[in-house]
Symmetry: D3
């Protein structure tokens, strides 16, 4: 059974702040520097969602990219785009919105909505020079 | 034996139409939407071919990129560039030219022309936001 | 009155063929080469529409980019995306769809729909390496 | 006297909110939509600063790009990067931080620090698809 | 007479060193810093050549991009690609190969080979963040 | 234990020449072509360093990207940027500076400076179309 990976890119623009509420302000400043600005800063996050599986011989698709696009819109763009990650999303009220934690949260939001026979990997660019990737290893 | 991956990008501009001849027109429209336009549409396909193997100690090359460039030209660009995939290529007279099927066809065209000791992976961008990858898994 | 330029990018994927019906096949092949394939080829056309004008002091906008995005969708993407330019659009039934002619046609489609106090410029990429620009000079 | 344009790119990551304090909340929502989220959202702003002038025959420079890079760092990146434009910068406490207003503010911050014989133009990308440009016309 | 601008991108990879032979080593180091390394360093120079003129009604072209591509190959890529600008090219044996001087030299090499009715502009990227442009102003 | 990959991009501009001192000039020309120019040529090398490991629950980081950025600066940019690889670096006095050999050398320079619990992968673009990758396989 030949396996092909299909990927779709999307984008969301969000504000955030890196902060550990269990730490003193000094410790937060020391570790997170300017990323700890209490008034927040923001990013154009670029998201690439990849699914791997066999090609359906009737459609020639591993998964219809229009469906994948809609899933990303529903489960990532709608809750995250033009939001403040710390204030407007459930997960990051208690979890620090580092790129690493965001990519895991996105993977967990998408996983139940994608055919379990398909492997899922998520790539998240915080800036053009900084990015993270998660494929569910260790979940 | 250290293994390094060497990649080369190329591009071809082609027309295509997504269509399953075993289906009714209604079913084709329902599944493939505007991609089923009988007059065709087209793309700038961007291709990245990657080979993985050991470095030749004399040349410092895994594979001469000039040779890889020529192979891509001969086996992909010449038959596909400025063509109608459905009408002008053998494989897609009967096979639906989805990105998934195109990347598998390209992999199969290149594989016999590359040293069998080298692993081969092909990445194909249909648009900046949609792309597929195949490394021969399951062949 | 300070003048600022506001730009919005979009994309459409189309098939086309370069061809002059007044010429012999030999002359067409000689001038247009592989671009003259009677079965068509295609491109991901990238469009950048720029409008220049004064900033509205109440909104801070020269022109609402959401409105500009909608105009591009209505007047360019809807008629051109996933189409065959030669067969599916009025203008190119008689006009050769070179990048130069396409950019002029797009400019003429957009101009009546944009406030006449705003200057309009259109940039069209046919490939990453070939592109054209028109700002209405000489119309 | 031959004139050459020299450009330098930079980036800053900031939070902002589009909002007109003279308007009702309903009017703000109607005009600015999701950009009016009171908890802010954010962007990776990409900045291209261009100066045009004659080439110094001794150095071969119009302006030393290292100096231009430092000016951008001092007058744009330091005050704007990892900031909330509405809360952390003087200009946008009263001015709506649309892309248009930001590009004019940046131009005005840079102009006094650059040789008056050099023309100055600033290009600001808010996202990959939305950008604005100002060259001082009408100031 | 409508005027359209047509552009073509190309690339050449070259070594160079910034250096003024009329200066002391100390002065060269002070002004050019690490760019003055006597053993040279190098760049992937990206070149965009733009010509502006009227559309030929028979071909739909301002200028055949295949011809423009060939001219760039003949007059820029052949003499500059995989060369040391200081040692291997006539102009830079005496002229400091700054981006500004290179873009003027390229413009002067191309100008006599392009129809005088067409305006010519050259854009040269030395890195993704540093670039220069020349349109013949002041020649 | 969930594992996330964190990546950071950097760039260095260097001159080099491909050459095997054990071969005749003819053999060098035959194999390396224009890359064998004795006066050198050069590139903007783009480097992407990826580390994979578990997320620290206190910081939300796999590895602080500021630290990764500093390591790349210290161990790659400082010795390689604005240098002649063949003449100015220890490794390439005897080793041919092909992209393959450069990526292995960079991996070996970084490996001792990164927590051994983190996996390390290095991607090196010599041009936009040619690139290589090494993850330590076979060391």
């Amino acid at each position: 059974m030949m396996k092909v990976t299909v990927s779709r890119k999307a984008q969301f623009n969000a504000a955030h702040r890196l902060y550990n509420s269990a730490w003193s302000d000094e410790r937060n400043d020391e570790v997170f520097g300017k990323c700890n600005n209490p008034n927040f800063h923001g990013h154009n996050y670029t998201l690439t969602v990849s699914v791997k599986g066999t090609i359906d011989p009737e459609t020639g698709y591993v998964m219809d990219m229009k469906v994948l696009k809609e899933l990303i819109h529903e489960h990532v763009e709608k809750p995250f785009d033009h939001r403040n990650l710390n204030l407007d999303t459930e997960e990051f009220k208690t979890l620090n919105p580092t790129a690493e934690n965001i990519v895991v949260v996105i993977w967990k939001r998408l996983r139940p909505n994608i055919n379990p026979e398909l492997e899922l990997k998520v790539l998240l660019h915080e800036t053009e020079r900084n990015f993270v990737e998660f494929d569910g290893e260790g979940v």
